[in-house]
Amino acid sequence: MSMVDIDVSGDVFCSIVLETASTASYLKQGSSVTLVFKETEVSIGKNLTGLISLRNRFKATIKRIEKSDILTKVFLNYRDKEIVSIISTRSAQKLGLIIGDDVEWLVKTNEVSLLQEG
């Protein structure tokens, strides 16, 4: 198992993968990888205080919200990239999410896959 730190335009993302440097050739310093995770694994926090175990937490702005009965899709602007989070409509209402809100998005390290480039 490996804990991999990935530099994304200055922010450090973490991913835990089963591979090690000896089983996967791309696991070496300087390799380019694409980070892949499911929208349903992305959480949203607003005015977060206190300690939290999630290491992948980054600031973003809400640019669009799509609501349905059970789930809500929140489109975020993160360093001019689009990140999508799918959370329960109940949570979206509880947090009072609206377009333009500054929030943090979070994803657990064991939910982040690495896709080898090239």
Binding site: S15, I16, V17, L18, E19, A24, V36, E39, T40, E66, K67, S68, D69, I70, L71, T72, K73, V84, I86, N110, E111, V112, S113, L114, L115, Q116
Partner: protein
Amino acid sequence: MIKIRIKKEMHTPRGQEWLDIDLNIAKGEFVTVFGESGAGKTTLLRILAGLTQAQEGYIEIDGDVWFDSQKGINLPIQQRKIGFISQESSLFPHMTVRENLEYACSDKNALNSIEEWIITIGLKGLEAQRPDQISGGQKQRVALIRALIKQPKILLLDEPLSDLDIHARLNLQDEIIKVYQKTGITTILVSHDLSEVFRLSRKVFIIHRGKITKSGSPQEVFVNNDLSGKFKFTGEIIEIHKDGVLNILTLSIGNHVTKVVASDEEILGLTIGSKVIVASKAFNPLIFKA
């Protein structure tokens, strides 16, 4: 054991190419020959069946020589114990299902086995129908029984499911699995349908421009390893159902039908029948004792 060493010239849109095959298939194995159209898959089956002759080579089935170009041996199709099923079954249109089957029987044993196969393959109640009164999938079942009552040594399946809709295809795949489990007959399936290969066969030969380029289990041959997800399968989309902001995909993976949730962005360009890789982090799956 089936030993095949053959060479035959093929005329393809790319010009003349040689079908040049050297492979062994163990008795009782279920193998798939996979490749693009024009690669030589069907020609290989036709040579095995005796419908086409190779320019040179050798074919041996369980110690019996069927073809030996050097010794001038070439058993006629009637003496090769094969069951051959192609895309379109050629049933006699004026005969009922039962008459079609009885016509194929050469002895009493075969006649006696008809009833058992009709029940096993799920054709009960359709015996008095004529071919134009039954569905494409049912016709292929009749063709399957017709092949089996002759107790062949090998079953050759030349894309027998390709003209069927997805539900009929999955049903007939179940019947083929049943037949294989019941008889243990050596089966060679020609297919270009990935989920079919995964579902039916334990071994696959990739044929490209007349040559075998790769062989192994479907996992070994088809699953690429560029994604760090360890929980990874290849499947086919059977249904896409929009539910709120998400989509629920029904997939056929191996011998199972399963459901996966996907966003609109994830399924861009995918339709029913699309082949997909389903991957998850190795951390997610829950394990229970079966």
